[in-house]
């Protein structure tokens, strides 16, 4: 596809000449590099609450971000108006970061190599509204039908279709059409006059609407949310203190995202403020652990054909057999440290400066039988589902919040426990991994990662893993 067939050319008449002139304006006061990020984002979301479809919202936002890099400095401006004079004005504002004679922009563009990870004729956003509203209605019915103790259900379906165009002063041109769809269901259950309990589930990805018919149906998410709420009705207080923790497969991979992923983003390491700074080649995890960040898995929520700086995404090895191998690089950090971009430059929208981010972060499968892992624990905690987490990059301390977990007693899962936070230290926690299951599972596609005020969709995955020592923040001593 050439520029002339691209979305922004067809809809807004943007030509190569235009792009060159905006980039020249951006580098008119010097600087080594400039780029333009055009974005057109259309969204729909539909929500059911108390059995009534109460909300349906759709809309469009569009704009262009202009960035100039001069040494370690970044100038940034954006416009939500794509008229040439407004884009030039934004380029002049971004240019203020540099002070010197103009840098000559290379003429002509080369289209960047890129993946084709989410081919589809019709994105969910382009399908009929009736089909989509049906999804939340089905979820509501299924959650209520699961158990008569379920008394409150909320379900949301949301999709988006993002068209992007990235043009750089190095003459690189990339386009992408990025579909996304997600369902989420939450349920409240109550036993007699007892206190209500909550359950939540959801998923999706860069998928067609067929995904919700054939792979993960509204009924699947609804039953899962209802099941979790029902399980909590019998929950006991979570233990307090250090114990052996077994993480179930899938979404508990958030451990990797918090414990190591953020700490390996190149901006923090270039600045020497991460607990992982200067530790490449060192043992930071048990030899059983190999951790990957892979933006190239088809249809996944965290995947991208090109990152938000126009670079193709990659499969990056972060930790190999426990040894730290590499950081996640964007353009700025890789330029400043003489590395190459790992396709990890991401941003929330045209209003935001890109930075190194994760895509889909997971641990490779090991050799243990998941059942054997549980059997090997005398006393501990099995965590099946988490709600979220956070990390302090500098000390390396991370927390993640378990919402469904069970006591392990004499090698068996016994009682469900109430929600509790788990805390550990990034460069230390994975050294206590003593067994890794062969059941690697990627999450169902619900993750949102926040960094410096910017949210981007991500994925995680992990097999069943045993961690010999971790601090659990319950109340039962």
């Amino acid at each position: 596809m050439g520029l002339s067939q691209s979305f922004f050319s067809e809809r807004f008449g943007i030509t190569e000449r235009d792009l060159e002139s905006y980039l020249s304006e951006a580098l008119s006061a010097g600087g080594e590099y400039a780029d333009l990020y055009f974005e057109y984002l259309a969204t729909t979301s539909i929500g059911i609450d108390e059995g009534i479809v109460k909300s349906a919202t759709g809309g469009v936002s569009l704009g262009v971000g202009v960035r100039v890099i001069a040494g370690e400095r970044t100038g940034y401006a954006y416009s939500d108006d794509l008229s040439p004079e407004k884009i030039r004005k934004a380029a002049r504002v971004a240019a203020h970061i540099a002070k010197g004679p103009a840098t000559i922009v290379k003429t002509g563009f080369e289209e960047a190599r890129q993946h084709n990870l989410y081919p589809m004729l019709n994105a969910p956003h382009e399908t009929g509204l009736a089909e989509r509203v049906d999804l939340v209605k089905r979820a509501d019915l299924a959650a209520r039908a699961y158990d008569s103790r379920v008394f409150q259900v909320q379900a949301t379906y949301a999709d988006s279709l993002r068209n992007v165009l990235v043009a750089t002063s190095e003459g690189r041109l990339s386009f992408d059409r990025q579909p996304m769809a997600r369902m989420s269901v939450s349920a409240l259950a109550r036993q007699g006059d007892g206190a209500p309990q909550h359950g939540h589930s959801g998923g999706g990805g860069r998928v067609t609407l067929e995904f919700f018919e054939k792979e993960k149906t509204p009924e699947h998410f609804a039953k899962e949310a209802a099941r979790q709420a029902i399980v909590q009705l019998d929950a006991v207080d979570a233990p307090a203190g250090e114990t052996t923790v077994v993480l179930g497969p899938g979404w508990p991979g958030i451990l990797l995202h918090e414990a190591v992923g953020h700490g390996l983003e190149a901006d923090f390491n270039r600045k020497g403020v991460s607990a992982f700074s200067g530790r490449i080649g060192q043992q930071v995890a048990s030899p059983l652990c190999t951790v990957i960040d892979d933006g190239t898995i088809g249809s996944r929520r965290g995947s991208l054909n090109v990152d938000d700086e126009g670079m193709p995404t990659q499969k990056n090895v972060l930790i190999e057999n426990g040894v730290l191998r590499g950081y996640l690089q964007d353009k700025l950090s890789s330029r400043l440290t003489n590395n190459t971009s790992t396709g990890s430059g991401r941003r929330e929208s045209y209003q935001h400066i890109p930075m190194p981010r994760m895509t889909n972060t997971y641990m490779l499968a090991g050799e243990s039988d998941p059942e054997e892992i549980i059997k090997s624990v005398q006393k501990g905690l099995y965590c099946a589902t988490f709600s979220g987490g956070q990390v302090d990059i500098t000390s390396g301390n991370f927390v993640f919040a378990a919402t469904e977990s069970y006591l392990i007693e004499n090698g068996k899962l016994t009682r469900p426990v109430r929600g509790a936070s788990l805390i550990g230290n990034g460069p230390e926690a994975l050294k206590y991994v003593s067994m890794v299951g062969r059941d690697l599972l990627l999450d169902e596609g619900i993750g949102v990662c926040g960094k410096e005020g910017q949210s981007v969709p991500v994925g995680v995955g992990i097999p069943t893993v045993k961690i010999d020592r971790m601090t659990v923040g319950g109340t039962a001593q």
């Binding site: 759709g58 400095r73 940034y76 954006y78 206190a195 209003q351 500098t394 991370f398 927390v399 788990l422």
Partner: protein
């Protein structure tokens, strides 16, 4: 009417002409600026303006919403059509509607939301503020040799709201802020902390010297932390971390959670739910604060609400929808971005200051003083509370040593009963609290 008010009124009229029985339109415009410095050099400058409009329509009892960043006539037309189309797929909701006309209105006194001085601030001056804060952080202690940087941000904007029941209103807001995050290092231990100041008016900011010094002192005192033993103990929240508890309390009095019975405070109106020393107010009419506004996001007059008075739950916080569901009156707490059904948001939601200064509350106390909370997930339905924490161990009222890699846990119902309140209330955002002491929580450590 201003241009944007006319544009919003026109969108509402187009919606009515297209078959809506009611409509409400929000338009926001704003200019943002941000300067970041690190290691004494400018790291980034960002400057831009943007606008967006959103509309919500009711076709009978069916609602639909849409938004656009394209404010041309064609853009507005597409937006209105989108909302009407979406109203066709929603269900009839007997409680859907705009607020009662008698509740609509705007405060007329000057709420001090806009400072013209912010428009005229020079870029060089803003950069200098950030550089100075970082420089002072470096100068405060030798163990500060690195930094995640300092930044100065400013914003000026306008919010416009028009509905089909005759409400037309708009107000301007401004804000500015300075923050710095120094990194302290000693004997292989590395810790970061931050301090910030932000205000609607430039003259209300703390000085860069104050911001730099406090940030540095906070980072340095965290060095070489210990992981303490698992135990039950007194836990003290400084104002910065107490805000997070108060934000959990807000979630529990949010009318949306109440009508769904998704809060541990549902059905407790009039009950004693907290210590007698606890009074919680929501007041969007206090001048110059971040939670202040003349009207809420559905055009209802803002007013002061006593939420908890001497431990008794007096009121939930409501928009018109949750009020109708509960058979109550809206408290003027409707909140939304630019589109969609309104949610419930805080005005200035705060704990009334107690009488004793924090030193007096700490006197003779042994326990954990929490200066940072990470990754917590409070369960609003049950009140179960668990969060990662870091801070200082206090022995007999004195700061003894830093503590990290621990969690604190309890249940909000009990924590509200066990709370003591200091006098150091300060507003650093729309949710504010003085220092709080909780008589017993579970600390998980070694």
């Amino acid at each position: 009417m201003s241009d944007l008010e006319t544009l919003a009124a026109d969108a509402v009229k187009r919606a009515i002409d297209a078959g809506a029985t009611d409509a409400e339109c929000t338009i926001m415009e704003g200019d943002e600026f941000s300067a970041a410095v690190r290691m004494r050099e400018v790291e980034s400058l960002k400057e831009a303006g943007s606008r967006a409009a959103g509309i919500r329509v009711l076709v009978g009892k069916n609602g639909g919403s849409s938004y656009t960043s394209d404010l041309t006539s064609e853009g507005i037309r597409t937006m209105v059509r989108g909302a009407i189309d979406l109203a066709k797929i929603t269900s009839e909701d007997p409680f859907a509607g705009l607020p009662d006309e008698s509740d609509l209105g705007a405060r007329t006194e000057d709420l001090g939301l806009y400072d013209t001085a912010i428009e005229g601030m020079e870029t060089d001056w803003k950069i200098a503020q950030a550089k100075r804060a970082e420089e002072v952080a470096f100068a405060t202690d030798d163990r500060i040799q690195n930094s995640e940087g300092a930044s100065f941000d400013s914003y000026v904007g306008r919010r416009v709201f028009v509905n089909s029941r005759g409400f037309v209103g708009s107000y301007r807001t401004s804000s500015c802020g300075l923050s710095v995050s120094p990194v302290a290092k000693q004997n292989g231990s590395m810790e970061r902390d931050y301090w910030y100041t932000s205000a609607r008016a430039a003259s209300k900011l703390e000085s860069p010297d104050e911001v730099g010094r406090r940030a540095a002192e906070r980072a340095v005192r965290r060095l070489n932390p210990r992981k303490i033993a698992t135990q039950r103990a007194v836990v003290i929240f400084e104002p910065r971390t107490a805000r997070s508890l108060l934000s959990d309390l807000f979630d529990a009095v949010n009318g949306g959670a109440i009508y769904r019975q998704a809060s541990f405070l549902a059905g407790k109106l009039g009950d004693k739910i907290a210590s007698e020393s606890l009074t919680v107010i929501d007041d969007p009419t206090l001048p110059g604060l971040f939670g202040s506004s003349p009207f809420d996001d559905e055009g209802v007059l803002c007013r002061r609400t006593v939420v908890i008075e001497k431990g008794v739950l007096k009121s939930y916080l409501l928009n018109s929808y949750s009020a109708r569901k509960l058979g109550l009156k809206t408290t003027g707490n409707a909140s939304r971005g630019i589109t969609g059904n309104a949610g419930v948001g805080p005005g200035n939601f705060f704990i009334e200051a107690g009488e004793r200064p924090p030193e007096s509350i700490l006197k003779g106390t042994t326990g954990l003083y929490v200066t940072e909370l990470i990754g917590g997930d409070t369960n609003t339905v049950t009140g179960d509370y668990s969060s990662g924490a870091a801070g200082m161990w206090i022995e007999n009222g004195e700061m003894a040593y830093p503590v990290s890699e621990i969690t604190i846990a309890g249940n909000m119902k009990q924590m509200l009963m066990d709370v003591e309140i200091a006098s150091d209330l300060e507003f650093r955002g729309s949710i504010a609290s003085p220092t709080l002491l909780i008589r017993e929580m579970t600390i998980s450590g070694q």
